[in-house]
Symmetry: C2
Subunit: 362 residues, 2 copies
């Protein structure tokens, strides 16, 4: 899936769902603090691996170059561990946050196991501005390192004496299964004829592939804070809805994003005929523009057709639908958050992270 490193006017124009405007500073502070407290856990876990697996993991996390020399490290934004720690703090205060470091590391390990495997399956050659692990170490070693990271993640929780650790491990394991089903659905959808794909299918896929782990991260934080089952589920739903909002906006950026800011060519998703959320919304709109878009999607990509394709998605309502949906998902996320964390001050950190993933970047 996409990293949380893109942003665009399209995103900045999102309605704010009634939340107070945030400048992203709070989220940046949370993310920095997360890295500082979770990185040592993560490094210790990875250092416990046998040499062959450790080398690939250190490369993937950006802590080593391919030749084994130390690197500065650029292991993503740490959104998921930040959600674990911030959810724990929101429901149980700083003490709960302090007990949830392993859980935060476990979620980040699971995320990175899926990145290693997804990159092999999708033949993606770049990740976090570096060659992907499979391009450096080969498919087999990238698969094995991913397998080892999953084991490391669930092993961390199994060794954690915290009373919530078993429930957290069960939840994380079940989330992995959902992530696998989501990745399967994603590749299966891309292989199908555009006319056969329903909006429900793409939304379900996006929830499994993107929403599930964000929801699980929040739920684990709640579990470590000793929250009630109801609050754990509300936090899971908060993360899932925020994740879907992120995906909707990421898909908008994939079509209307400014190449100068996204680093990708204009209309990148249309060029590869991706069945992203706005495209499927457009294709299933029953409008004349939907027919035009379906015809264009039948043809191989030609640069001179790009503008017409973009306009067809717009005229068929794909962009508006995605933006309204994203705002709606964010509103639902806020409802769930308020249900579990009534005090606005305690909820502030999670709110800032949700705003960050759906609207901002650096």
């Amino acid at each position: 899936m996409a990293e949380f490193t893109t942003a665009d006017q399209a995103a900045a124009e999102q309605p704010s769902a009634g939340a107070p405007p945030l400048d992203g500073h709070e989220a940046a502070v949370i993310l920095e603090r997360t890295r500082a407290s979770v990185d040592p856990e993560l490094r210790a876990a990875i250092d416990s691996l046998p040499g062959s697996m450790r080398r690939i993991a250190l490369y993937h996390f950006g802590w080593e170059h391919a030749d084994g020399t130390p690197a500065a490290g650029s292991a993503g934004k740490a959104i998921r561990p930040a959600l674990v720690l911030t959810a724990a703090a929101a429901l149980g205060g700083p003490r709960a946050r302090a007990t949830a470091l392993r859980a935060a590391a476990a979620v980040e390990l699971v995320h990175n196991f899926t990145l290693l495997h997804d990159d092999v399956m999708d033949r993606d050659t770049t990740r976090r501005h570096r060659p992907t692990a499979w391009t450096v170490f080969g498919d087999a070693d990238a698969i094995l390192a991913g397998d080892a990271l999953q084991a490391l993640a669930l092993g961390l929780l199994a060794e954690d004496p915290h009373p919530a650790s078993s429930a957290a491990a069960a939840r994380l394991a079940s989330c992995v299964v959902e992530l696998c089903a989501g990745q399967h659905a994603d590749t299966a959808l891309e292989r199908r004829h555009p006319g056969e794909v329903t909006l429900d299918e793409v939304l379900t896929m996006a929830e499994a592939k993107t929403g599930a782990l964000l929801g699980c991260a929040c739920a684990l934080g709640a579990l470590y804070a000793g929250a009630s089952d109801e609050d754990v589920e509300a936090l899971d739903a908060f993360g899932r809805q925020a994740g879907l909002a992120f995906q909707l906006i990421d898909d908008v950026i994939g079509i209307w994003g400014d190449p100068k800011r996204t680093g990708k060519p204009a209309g990148a998703d249309l060029a590869v005929r991706k069945k992203s959320l706005p495209v499927v919304a457009a294709l299933t709109s029953g409008t004349p523009a939907a027919t035009e878009l379906a015809e264009l999607y039948e043809l191989p990509y030609a640069k001179e057709d790009l503008e017409r394709t973009v306009l067809a998605v717009e005229r068929a309502g794909g962009r508006d639908w995605a933006q309204v949906q994203a705002a709606d998902r964010m509103a639902r996320a806020m409802d769930e958050l308020t249900r579990a964390v009534a005090d606005p001050e305690a909820a502030g950190g999670l709110l800032a992270l949700a705003e960050f993933v759906t609207r901002r970047s650096t």
Copy 2:
């Protein structure tokens, strides 16, 4: 790795390490009883998967044909779950055995996750006399189904209320990491020049790839019986040594096995220039036959050289070394078993299983 379905005169000729002769009947009874009690756990776990993942898992386990129609099922010999249950019974009696069903299913799920992934990496096209999952569903789906089975295994233990379940999950997770390192070492060794590979390296690889999960299975049974740390480690060592004995004998069969009984062509491992244990023992023997073997291994395989290659391994002492090593490993396994389970009657089941994997077949 190899399934426990081959046998041969070479194996039958193994010294029996002082153990009373067994006709394999006791092992067959244990394996049948294991299937009867573990299969329902296993089926329930697999049935809990989302449709896409369930379909691949059911095919891999032999419970469905590729088209989704029911199949008779031929999911291997269930040696590993049998070791879990028999170790639990040896140290804690029938009540301990009854509590260890989930742990037994978890070990079998981990074994099958590694088979799914190893088949993708090794490009193996046949498993249990059927086309491998990746040949039917593609690489991506076989990788995802393997990922899901690992999660299912560790999730089963996380949900298990038994007081030993966390320790068991931690041990199984750590075993997965060792299995990954073993598979990496195996493929890395096969890529290296025969003259550069040491016997220690091949033994370490075989222990990680084959011994680790057999040891872990026995250790999990001991944990579920509430055994002391010392007994858990002794049971782990028992399984590891028996696993190494199995691998040594399997490698002997790979060269001297009777094609009529193994179903593979004569000298199959030599034809693919495999650096199996007897071959590396021969290559590192410092004898004139070692030099001859090294020269033959430099050349592409030619059928007319097979007899000379087999003889070179023999004259360099590869066969004798492997047989003595196998007997030695079995003796060590028995020592460890006796240390933890002093009563010969209680130890009988584990002894029968060890004899079965190292000497017998269907």
